[in-house]
Amino acid sequence: MHLVIIGNGITGVSCALTVRRLRPEARITLVSSESAHHYSRTALMYVYMGHLRPQDIKPYEDWFWKENHLELVHATATALNTSKKLIALANGTTLAYDQLLLATGSESKRHGWPGQDLAGVQGLYHLPDLEAMTRDTHGISRGVVVGGGLIGVELAEMLHSRGIEPTVLVRDAHYWASVLPPEEANLVDRQFEENRVPVRYRTELREILGDAQGRVRAVVTTAGEEIPCQWVGLAIGVSPNLTLAKTSEIDTDRGILVDEYLRTNVPNVYAAGDCAQHRQPAAGEVAIEQLWYTGRMQGEAVAHTICGQPTPYRRGVWFNSAKFFNLEYQTYGQAPASPIAGLESFYWEHPSGRAALRVYFRAEAPHAVVGFNALGLRLRHDVCEHWIRQQAPVATVMSHLGAANFDPEFFPQHEKAMVTAFNQQFPQQPVALKQRKGLFSLIKK
């Protein structure tokens, strides 16, 4: 079997590694226009900030590919002929495949703003973006970041690291309003404040103004404010990269349409990761998932199907994480931004405003826990997942909170304060802390 994978991001590489494990004899070729070797997209910001060098964000050393017989082709795939099972590459050669995985990732979204094609206006998704940002922010003093999501805060932090003053435009009344409840968003806002990054809430971009050389010189917001700047980062999300898929008869909508096995409408052609759109997403799940973790899981699932072990993609208990300047964030399970019927939540916040925990649970007895938000705290993934899967009652979870504590040794333990706060907020379900972290948990058992 010759498996060709278009895209060497986390999805394509996860698939390649899984196929290698399941089928040691398979021929596997990874094609990428972006880079000779797989790198961690999520780490681009650290290269810009000088924490890491470009070679440090490769998850595997260069020998790894050869020793595991994974062929790498650094070229753009320009056309796909599914009847002949051939891929044309920009370097003039063609590749024949038995099985094909499209893991072509995303492109940064643009909104059609006036001035969005000026020099110094860009998104941050791939290596060329990092190069452009390095070039266009060289020696400048002010930048504007559009978007109140994960990439928005990353871009602000990146500019900040070089002494460039960013201004962040956020459409909603608080940061990442589609995901974070106001209390959590408030802690993120404190990070912006502490790092002296001005944020304009309820403000969108209206227009980008250029100078005589075609470079950005300012933006105008929907509030009518003109903010002078020499660079604009657009962080309003990404959309599937369909360039190659559209050269064939593969069905596409916003993304490449796939069934639960990540199969496209064409036999032996699969799609996974950012570029795939599920025809029938499961209840509560979205059709297009654009995350590192889901990319990895989809890559693993599709590898099984490719190897003759049809495996539907199941996301399992949701999880995600991020870091906003110095504030870490983890979430597990169902953690809606605004109240929904049938769910209650318990919220605790440390007086310092640097740590918070929210536990979501069902309003009806036995109040099964459905999700967590943690800020400035580290929670044990497997414990949270176990509680959510087992539908553990909130009283059980609260009394054993120590089991989920993944903070380093000697860190202050907040379980006692959390339980006290819980008993104040939900006096009808009194809870006593039974399990603390580490040695205490042994003593108390």
């Binding site: 070797h37 020696g139 070089r162 870091k323 044990r380 993934h381 000697f410």
Partner: protein
């Protein structure tokens, strides 16, 4: 992948920071004047002025640089700076350090008339302090110990400010500062003051290889009660306490909490920790070098005891000659000149990683007979590489984290920096039951491909 990323202009250094750096530079200049001045009185003035300026400048700079910013990882522009990114400043620093060690080890011995070579003025400037602490004049090793301890304290304070968001790092840094000042500087000095053998209670065989040599044991025992205790202490720490403590806590109880070499690496070496080579090739060199050194010192110690037990007849001088060569090649060249001199180029743990027989011994215990491991948190790793970057022992931590596997490596000194630097809360140093110690997360399908 070779993106063209030109070095950016670094953010302007504030005038206050520049001033503190100028004070440090002034201190270094005063040190040169102390070396050059012929007048003993002025030598001393220059010397203490130098220490004052360097100390004050370093503390003030650290506070401005780290203490004034919001608490958190502060690694901006680390690889871009000439001082920490193997630039010109780093090479000059490395040359100066290497040169200092060469002069110290081979050109600064007492010539019999109380003259200590090129460092003579600095040694004698410390005579007063040495008399007060040790009731004897200073020598080149007292000068070295003073510099070493000062470096650990000053740069330790810098580390306290830099890592103040992590209690693990605060306590651990305070610990190495405490053991260096107390057990590697003041107590040995006080022992001399009371006419006792100079003994370091925090250095053990096989790092302090001669502590279990028959010659050392004999001379200590002849010294009476305290000497017998020292022999007992050395033996118990090397052969009993080390395995027991390593069983419960991993090798970190020593390497990154107590040891003086580790103390310098964790404080003065902190700006260079990311320079340790993470490649598989470097790991192969590590294994090829460190274990043979452990074997060599075991053999030499054995030879010396055989030599002693057989009344010096069986093997002649072989053991003594070998011990002398070991002292030169490993004790001086490797641990000193290369170990510290190469900080700015190869990172702060070159000696600990490639050379230290104690680290090899602790490492074998940690790998095979310990409850210690670094746990990874389910499927949360994003392969960003920050953990590998800060690993001073050159472990490619992310290789484990991205597969959801616990990190159990002989070389890990448990500094905890991978956990501190991880932006997603994935890594945690834990001591736990040995059953299931290697158990990976069920939330990632490990790819089972080799990584070393």
């Amino acid at each position: 992948m070779s993106p063209t990323l030109n070095a950016p202009p670094l953010p302007a250094t504030s005038p206050a920071e520049k001033l503190t750096l100028a004070v440090v530079a002034g201190g270094l200049l005063a040190l040169l004047l102390a070396l050059a001045d012929a007048d003993p009185g002025r030598q001393q003035t220059w010397f203490y002025l130098a220490l004052g300026l360097i100390s004050g400048g370093t503390l003030a700079w650290s506070w401005l640089k780290f203490g004034k910013h919001p608490a958190g990882m502060q690694h901006n522009n680390l690889w871009w700076r000439a001082s920490t990114g193997r630039g010109a400043v780093a090479w000059v620093t490395g040359l100066v350090l290497t040169g200092f060690y060469v002069v110290l080890y081979w050109y600064s011995g007492d010539d019999g008339h109380g003259h200590f070579g090129p460092l003579n003025n600095l040694v004698h400037a410390l005579d007063g302090f040495s008399q007060w602490l040790r009731a004897r004049p200073a020598d080149q090793w007292f000068l070295y110990g003073t510099f070493y301890t000062l470096a650990v304290l000053l740069m330790g304070t810098r580390a306290l400010w830099k890592y103040r968001h992590s209690r693990y790092q605060l306590i651990r840094t305070a610990s190495v500062m405490f053991f260096q000042l107390g057990f590697a500087f003041l107590i040995p000095g006080l022992l001399l003051f009371f006419q006792q053998p100079e003994f370091y209670f925090t250095y053990f065989w096989p790092l302090k290889y001669d502590y279990l040599f028959p010659g050392t044991v004999n001379s200590l025992v002849q010294n009476g009660g305290l000497g017998v205790f020292m022999v007992f202490w050395g033996g118990v720490m090397s052969l009993l306490a080390t395995p027991v403590l390593t069983y419960f806590y991993g090798k970190r109880w020593y390497c990154s909490w107590v040891c003086g070499c580790g103390g310098l690496a964790e404080t003065a070496g902190d700006p260079y920790r990311h320079l340790a080579d993470k490649s598989r090739a470097a790991w192969r060199w590590e294994v090829r070098i460190i274990y043979p050194i452990l074997v060599i010192i075991l053999v030499i110690t054995g030879l010396l005891w055989v030599h002693f037990a057989t009344g010096s007849t069986l093997l002649g001088e072989a053991g003594n000659v070998a011990a002398k060569w070991y002292g030169f090649a490993i004790g001086a060249v490797f641990s000193g000149v290369i170990g510290v001199g190469f900080y700015p180029i190869m990172g702060s743990r070159v000696w600990c990683r490639f050379g230290c027989p104690m680290a090899a011994y602790l490492g074998l215990l940690q790998k095979h007979f310990s409850r210690f491991r670094i746990s990874t948190n389910g499927g949360q790793c994003i392969s960003c590489g920050n953990c590998s970057n800060v690993c001073e022992m050159g472990i490619d931590v992310k290789q484990y984290a991205q597969r959801g596997e616990p990190i159990i490596r002989a070389s890990c000194v448990g500094c905890g920096m991978c956990s501190t630097a991880c932006p997603r809360g994935v890594l945690n140093l834990e001591n736990g039951p040995r059953e299931g110690r290697y158990q990976g997360s069920q939330l990632i399908h490990a790819d089972s491909l080799r990584i070393l």
